[in-house]
Amino acid sequence: MILAKGLACRRGDRLLFRGLSLELRAGEVCHLTGSNGAGKTTLIRTLAGLAEGYAGIGGCEGTVGLLDDRIALDPEAPLGRALDFWFALDAAADRAGVLERLRLTALTEVPVRYLSTGQTKRAGLARLMGQGAAVWLLDEPLSGLDTASQALVSELVAEHCAAGGTALIASHQPIDVPGLRTLAIEDYAPAPLASGEPEAAA
């Protein structure tokens, strides 16, 4: 599950959001929306435990799978070998099935750096599926994907949640998953400072 209570995060000196509370239990999925720079990635990294919150608490229970624009596959290695490193580490059971599902079977001999944007994204999804994590934190999983692959991502998320998983998805594109909740991060943006006017005495 994903739990945040009164979470505030900042980037540098700037407060991105504050007072954010979220509770996602097993089987629940949430669509995280907000404009560029609103703090979606920061929230995801904080929940993953890769960054420190400024105030409040935020974290995940269970194994965490993170998919962002850095897919952690060696660029020089053939896709199959790069994925096998993570599959072996995560003791992934169904290598062939995962590759087939993401239409990567024909690409296993291609070095990762020669893959297109969408193929790279699918390779990242393959790594995520092999991990079998309880919590999926997806940062822009749909960017660069064609329509068929976008539908596939929604399908995978739906299956993940049907199997008792939890997912938080930051995306600018609509996601088609039953029972989808929405969290607009801008609802938690700090009040803008009044410019030029003296602050009212409390």
Binding site: L50, T63, R70, F85, L89, R127
Partner: protein, 214 residues
Amino acid sequence: MIARLLKRDLALFFPFAGGGAALPVVFFVAVAMLYPFAVGPDAPLLARTGGGVIWIAALLAAILPLDRLVARDIALGHFDQLRLRGLAEEAVMAVRLLAHWFSFGPPLIFAAFPAAALLGLNGPTLHLVLLGLAAGTPGLAAIGLMIAALTASLRAGAALSGLLLIPLALPILIFGAGALARQDSTSLGFVAAISLGLVAIAPFAAGAAIRAVR
């Protein structure tokens, strides 16, 4: 898990296992080859100063792999993924230190044989050079790893890391090459002690550094 990690890191750095390049070793032998051309065919002079040249060449060769030691995997998100799988940064860096040393320490020690032949070093001197390199290269690897992790977020990190390694490697050089001047292996004990200390600190320092970059 640690064994798999070590295997991947070795493939990344080891010159003969597909990944990386044999560049540090080639560089090392090239320096030893160039030196006689520069100072002339004065055999006694070469034999007297050759050991020191090997040490300087080893130090410079240790700088070469630094740019791909840590920064690349930070950019790939590799360390983030390992963190999510519950591996501490310190353990990841300890594995990386081991792989880094394997990729340049033993090859350098083997390359010292042709280098010694090119410089006309005698048997006892070669013996001291080999012992010194065996004791000193783990320390050089540890300094290299710490510097690579600390400079990973800087744009000119690669150039800077070379500059930073040289003063920090000075104690190893002084005691390692000092043994050659006096033809006495006692100061190599200091080299080994410095190396041990550095190897003990490096995973923690480098681990803290990559955590701070996040």
